[in-house]
Symmetry: C2
Subunit: 161 residues, 2 copies
C-alpha cells in the first residue's frame, strides 16, 4: 500500500525523467484518478477535479491525461462507441464490460496467458501492448474483482495479491 505523498513523489519523478514539469494540475488529475478505482471519462475526471481546483479547464484535463498516459502512470481504455476511459490499474489485466449495468471490471490475467497471447503473433510483429476486453453480463456481481486495498499501485505495480 502506498500513501498519496508517495504517489505524488512518483509522479514528480516520472515527469522530470521525461523532461516535463510537475504542476499542480497534473498532480490533482492524477490524484483523483487514484482516489477511486474506477474507469472515469475525461468529463468525469474534469468534474471531480473542479471541486478541488475550480479554475482548471477541460483542455487542461485532456492535456494532463495525455501526459499521464505518456508517462505510463495510467492507461487508456476504449469501448465501442463510448467516450475514452482512463484506468489507474497498471497491472497486466483485462476489462470486462457489463452490458447491463455499463460497469467495467478489472480481470486479472495470469502472466503465462499474456505470454501465450504474444505467441500468436507472426514473425515480424512486435506488440508493445495488448488490450483484452470482454463484453457480457456479470451476474449479480457488483463488487470490483480487485479490491482497492490490495490493488496494484505505483510502488507496488503488481499488487499485493
Amino acid at each position: 500500500m502506498n500513501t498519496p505523498s508517495e504517489n505524488s513523489a512518483t509522479l514528480t519523478k516520472r515527469l522530470i525523467d521525461s523532461g516535463l514539469r510537475p504542476t499542480a494540475q497534473r498532480e490533482v488529475v492524477f490524484k483523483v484518478i487514484l482516489e477511486k478505482r474506477d474507469h472515469p471519462t475525461a468529463d468525469e475526471i474534469f468534474a471531480r477535479v473542479k471541486s478541488q481546483m475550480p479554475t482548471i479547464s477541460l483542455a487542461t484535463v485532456y492535456n494532463c491525461l495525455e501526459t499521464l498516459v505518456q508517462c505510463q502512470l495510467i492507461r487508456q481504455v476504449n469501448l465501442e462507441r463510448a467516450p475514452t476511459r482512463y484506468c489507474p490499474n497498471l497491472h497486466q489485466h483485462a476489462h470486462f464490460h457489463d452490458e447491463t449495468t455499463g460497469q467495467i471490471h478489472d480481470i486479472d490475467l495470469p502472466i503465462e496467458l499474456v505470454a501465450q497471447l504474444h505467441h500468436v503473433l507472426p514473425a515480424g510483429f512486435i506488440a508493445s501492448s495488448v488490450e483484452l476486453t470482454f463484453r457480457g453480463d456479470a451476474a449479480g456481481t457488483a463488487q470490483p474483482t480487485v479490491p482497492a486495498d490490495c490493488a496494484p499501485t505505483l510502488n507496488n505495480p503488481h499488487g499485493t495479491n
Copy 2:
C-alpha cells in the same frame, strides 16, 4: 469461397429472421464491406457506397452498419481515439494495429487460446464476446495475414485454412 449472390442471399435470410427488411441500401453497404478485406470507417464505407448509390445518406450508412452488426454479419472494431472501424472477418481473430503505418492486420487465434481466455473470468461473468487488440510495429509486413482467397466468409465462417 462464396459468390456475391450467396452473400446477398445470406444477408436476406438473416434480416428476415430478425424481422427486418432486405433493402437495397443494406445490401450495397454489406457488399462494399465484403469486397475489400480491410477495416473501413463509416465515412470510408459511405464514400465507397456512393459510387454505386449516389443518393444514399451517411445516416443510412450508420443505420445499415448497426443493423449488420446486430445480425452478426460484421463486427465493430474500436481503436484508441480513432473512428470506429468495421470488419467483415467473423472468424475468431485478434487485431494488430501497426502504429507506424496505421494499418490493421487480422491475427488468427487458436481455438484453445480463446477457450483459455474465457477461463480467466471469475464465476458469474459470462462473456458474449472478446476483443483482443495488439499495438506495435509490424516490421516490413505489408501483406494481410489472412489472404483474401482463403479468408472466412458467411458460408464458410472459419475460412479454408
